[in-house]
């Protein structure tokens, strides 16, 4: 699914990465726990979160996530946006809650990642 489609469906604004809005993600993961993000994500994934601190960008950087949606109308500060920009990431923000934002994308066909039990090979 293209990021530009995600942006439209979520009525989201783009904070950085406008030039890459035609790139795609295969799955999505909604979470406010960065350790869970590190534990579970293993492919081209969209991260939806209500956290806006620099650790979100650092966490995403570690596992090559390049698109993040901030939910509940939250906006990161300039330093966070700059850090994302430096790492060529796309940041979107939407007023929808995490549940609603995930629900909209799921209905449009963007599925979640495999869970631990389903995906024996994750981490490999």
């Amino acid at each position: 699914m293209k990021i530009i489609e995600i942006m439209n469906w979520l009525d989201a604004k783009c904070l950085t990465g406008q030039e890459s809005l035609n790139s795609e993600v295969n799955t999505a993961f909604g979470c406010d726990l960065m350790s869970d993000v590190l534990a579970f994500i293993n492919e081209k994934t969209l991260l939806l979160t209500g956290l806006t601190n620099p650790q979100v960008i650092r966490t995403a950087e570690m596992i090559d996530i390049n698109a993040i949606v901030f939910v509940r109308g939250k906006k990161p500060n300039k330093a966070v946006v700059d850090l994302a920009n430096k790492n060529n990431m796309i940041l979107l923000c939407t007023n929808h809650t995490l549940y609603t934002a995930c629900g909209i994308l799921y209905m449009k066909g963007l599925k979640g990642i495999f869970n631990k039990e389903e995906n024996e090979s994750y981490g490999q």
Binding site: L33, M34, S35, L38, P54, R58, T59, M62, I63
Partner: protein
């Protein structure tokens, strides 16, 4: 686990400062960039990135400060995270998924889910954790290339 600091290895070392949340992750970010420049394959880089980042966050969150040292050799990448501080009272408990002693402040940042050490072990080929209560914690990890 032996410290292989042979002629063919590259050594990287970073000071990690207690409670420095604004810079937390910089060391891991640098390590990742260097591994990419060296042409290490992306799966290995991802494992090293996750391990070093979790270790770096642990030092920032739980210790009085420490160091992360990385030895890159042709066959493996060795990561040593060593800190001064309270140490770990029970390593067995610390290795349980979901067990955490992190403060509310740390949880608000998205950490303290009790997944750090189990994650690091999962992504490691060799894993050794030692600690002395009130003194230090040393984590030694190897990831094969």
């Amino acid at each position: 686990m032996d410290n292989e600091q042979g002629k063919n290895s590259i050594k990287l070392e970073y000071e990690i400062i207690k409670d420095d949340f604004s810079r937390a992750g910089e060391a891991s970010s640098n390590i990742k960039k260097i591994l990419r420049q060296l042409g290490i394959d992306s799966k290995t880089i991802k494992k090293v990135a996750i391990v070093t980042y979790e270790a770096e966050m642990n030092i920032v969150i739980h210790s009085d400060g420490g160091k992360i040292t990385v030895f890159i050799s042709p066959h493996d990448i060795q990561i040593i995270a060593k800190d001064r501080g309270p140490g770990i009272k029970s390593i067995d408990r610390a290795m349980e998924e979901g067990f955490s002693t992190a403060s509310n402040k740390v949880r608000e940042l998205g950490f303290g889910a009790g997944m750090g050490l189990p994650n690091m072990k999962r992504y490691s080929d060799e894993f050794d954790l030692q600690s002395k209560s009130g003194e230090f914690t040393v984590l030694e990890i190897k990831i094969y290339i």
